[in-house]
């Protein structure tokens, strides 16, 4: 029996208060999820019995080599595709999703890209401009409202994309290798930026319902630097191989010894997973 529970498909998460975000013990529940592609008989199992709970306000990194199905899993959580078996619940409404490509619409300015997300969320016209400006300021792009996408640098585009994702006001932010295409310095800066935004959203000062992040990457250092919990997936089919809790205090740096040490440990494990595939 295949059960797919996507939180209220088609409904707008415009009223997070009644969405049960505060009551639910998780921002996302991935419950024994499997996914296969292809015709019956010639099926390819991409994900096999994955169960992950993302707590409200938690930052989880999904780590794995190519072919572990981490992007597929994210698509399932985003509701862009349905699981072959198992259930996925996102009580906070439709999750926001960020890709490796900025995916900003080139026919709109940076500000209008954000306003479109606001509009589709149901924010009244009069409030959109101000809210878009506020979100741009949040990602430190105050003057970029009227800029066209092609006029922005790679890092700026990803920050606008982040602002657009935040415009959905979802309690769950899904990120699919969002910084993989950036140069290392820019990526490092955006790590800081994301950490700041995530921590501010969950701080006592913010009145919002908190922000959980499910972040997919193949970069071990990135995972250790950002996450509270790192989940390592094995490949073909993707299964949970191991989990680590990262309790290195913030602010973290990519060059921190603690980050490096844990990265070494995780990398060893990841190599082991990859090696297994060469032994057939």
């Amino acid at each position: 029996m295949t059960t797919t529970t996507l939180s209220k498909p088609g409904s707008r998460p415009s009223a997070p208060a009644d969405a049960g975000g505060a009551a639910a013990p998780y921002a996302a529940r991935i419950d024994h999820v499997s996914k296969s592609f292809g015709r019956p008989g010639a099926q390819q199992h991409v994900l096999d019995d994955i169960s992950i709970d993302v707590a409200p306000g938690e930052f989880v990194c999904l780590l794995g080599a190519s072919g572990c199905g981490k992007s597929t899993l994210l698509n399932l959580v985003a509701g862009l595709d349905g699981p072959s078996a198992g259930r996925i619940e996102t009580p906070g409404g439709r999750p926001a999703l960020m890709f490796q490509e900025h995916a900003l619409f080139p026919w709109l300015t940076a500000g209008r890209n954000i306003e479109l997300a606001l509009r589709l969320r149901g924010v009244p016209r009069a409030e959109r401009r101000g809210e878009a400006e506020r979100l741009l300021e949040l990602v430190r792009l105050k003057g970029a409202y009227g800029k066209r996408v092609h006029e922005l640098s790679g890092g700026m585009r990803q920050r606008v994309a982040m602002a657009r994702a935040l415009a959905q006001d979802s309690q769950l932010l899904l990120m699919d290798e969002p910084f993989a295409a950036l140069d290392a310095i820019t990526r490092d800066v955006l790590h800081d930026e994301l950490t700041r935004i995530w921590r501010d959203a969950n701080g006592s000062a913010s009145g919002s319902g908190g922000l959980s992040v499910l972040f997919v990457t193949h970069n071990v250092r990135e995972a250790v630097r950002l996450a509270e919990r790192v989940v390592l997936l094995s490949s073909r089919p993707g299964r949970i191989a191991r989990e680590w809790t990262v309790d290195i205090p913030h602010p973290r740096r990519i060059e921190d010894a603690a980050v490096a040490d844990l990265s070494v440990e995780i990398t060893e494990q990841l190599r082991g997973e990859i090696r297994r595939h060469g032994q057939h």
């Binding site: 926001a96 619409f105 479109l116 066209r148 700026m156 290392a184 250092r221 995780i266």
Partner: protein, 346 residues
């Protein structure tokens, strides 16, 4: 402080390395194999060499980060320069003017050496005089207007029909399988071939003219939109769906704007087909009560064996076609492409 210095220095060196550079680059800079845990050699033993575990670190989440970010943004922002408009205009206008002058010169030479009898090949001046006569009669603008208004009306009707048709073909698989090939095939059918059929259906009337225009223009507009939709990056559709643009909302906010460049190219071609079809129809559908357009003007010139008249009519048809392209479609297309960063200056 020494340890902080080392830390930031190593960070700069380490993060400059692209992960793709691999172990060699990491070894060369002596920095930790930051970012490249997969690509690089085992980073074991490197970490203690460079960074103190619990050394005092500046919290970069404050103004320091903002400054770093502002610096990156400033360095990465492209500076676009615009040519002064006068120079741009000269650069664009001079070559075609020279080409026209050259053609006129050759024509005048051919006339001068009497390659053909003068009644078969009048001089440019004769043609200009013929145009001037019609202008002085006060009928010239009427002819032009009759044709242009027919062309515009036929074109708009074609847009109204071709756009939903194109959307259907692009987005509904069975529709595409059924009429997609026919639609592309129709594009290669010269619309003048429809004229006899249209005359039999509608007689010598406006309906015949519009039928021919529609049959010529609708396929190319629909095909343009189909091509435009096909070229949309799936990423936009995915991004649109995640922010909640589904169904008709998705068509309006994502699909149509994303397909606009291809759609515009289709519209441009659709106009060219409208204008051509209109001229073909006007040439053949000639009746006293129909009003005289440029095609009819051309046909009257032929009946009178007046070559200057014929040539001036051809010239007018050409000028209207080019004029609409230059005044309406070219700026529209340029604007759309430039705003998306798709127009590259060579």
């Amino acid at each position: 402080m020494a340890s902080t210095e080392t830390g930031t220095g190593a960070e700069a060196a380490g993060t400059t390395d692209d992960p793709a550079d691999g172990p060699a680059a990491d070894a060369a800079t002596g920095a930790p194999a930051a970012e490249s845990a997969l690509a690089g050699e085992a980073p074991a033993g490197k970490a203690p060499a460079t960074t103190k575990p619990d050394g005092a670190q500046p919290d970069r989440s404050g103004g320091d980060l903002a400054g770093l970010e502002a610096g990156l943004d400033a360095l990465d922002t492209k500076v676009s320069d615009r040519q002064p408009w006068l120079r741009a205009l000269t650069a664009k206008a001079v070559p075609p003017l020279v080409a026209v002058a050259l053609v006129l010169g050759l024509w005048q030479l051919a006339y001068h050496f009497e390659l053909k009898d003068h009644y078969l090949l009048p001089s440019p001046v004769d043609v200009a005089r013929s145009l001037q006569d019609k202008w002085l009669e006060g009928t010239l603008l009427d002819y032009v207007w009759t044709s242009v208004s027919r062309g515009a009306l036929g074109f708009l009707a074609s847009v109204a029909i071709g756009t939903p048709l194109g959307l259907l073909v692009a987005r509904v698989k069975p529709v595409r399988a059924a009429i997609g090939p026919i639609l592309s095939g129709l594009q290669s059918l010269p619309s003048v071939a429809w004229v006899p059929a249209a005359i039999i259906w509608f007689g010598l009337s406006d309906a015949t003219i519009y039928a021919v225009v529609l049959l010529g223009a609708v396929p190319s507009i629909a095909n343009g939109l189909v091509a435009g939709v096909d070229q949309i990056s799936p990423l936009y559709l995915r991004a649109g769906r995640t922010i909640g643009a589904r169904g008709l909302t998705g068509v309006r906010h994502i699909l149509l704007p994303a397909a606009l460049p291809g759609y515009l190219a289709g519209l441009k071609q659709g106009w060219a087909f409208s204008w051509r079809s209109l001229m073909a129809a006007e040439l053949i559908v000639n009746a006293a009560d129909l009003g005289t357009g440029l095609g009819q003007l051309l046909e009257q010139g032929r009946e009178l064996q007046d070559m200057s008249w014929v040539l001036s009519a051809i010239l007018l048809i050409l000028i209207v076609g080019i004029g609409i392209e230059l005044l309406i479609f070219a700026p529209l297309e340029r604007r759309v492409l430039r705003s998306r960063g798709l127009l590259v200056k060579s």
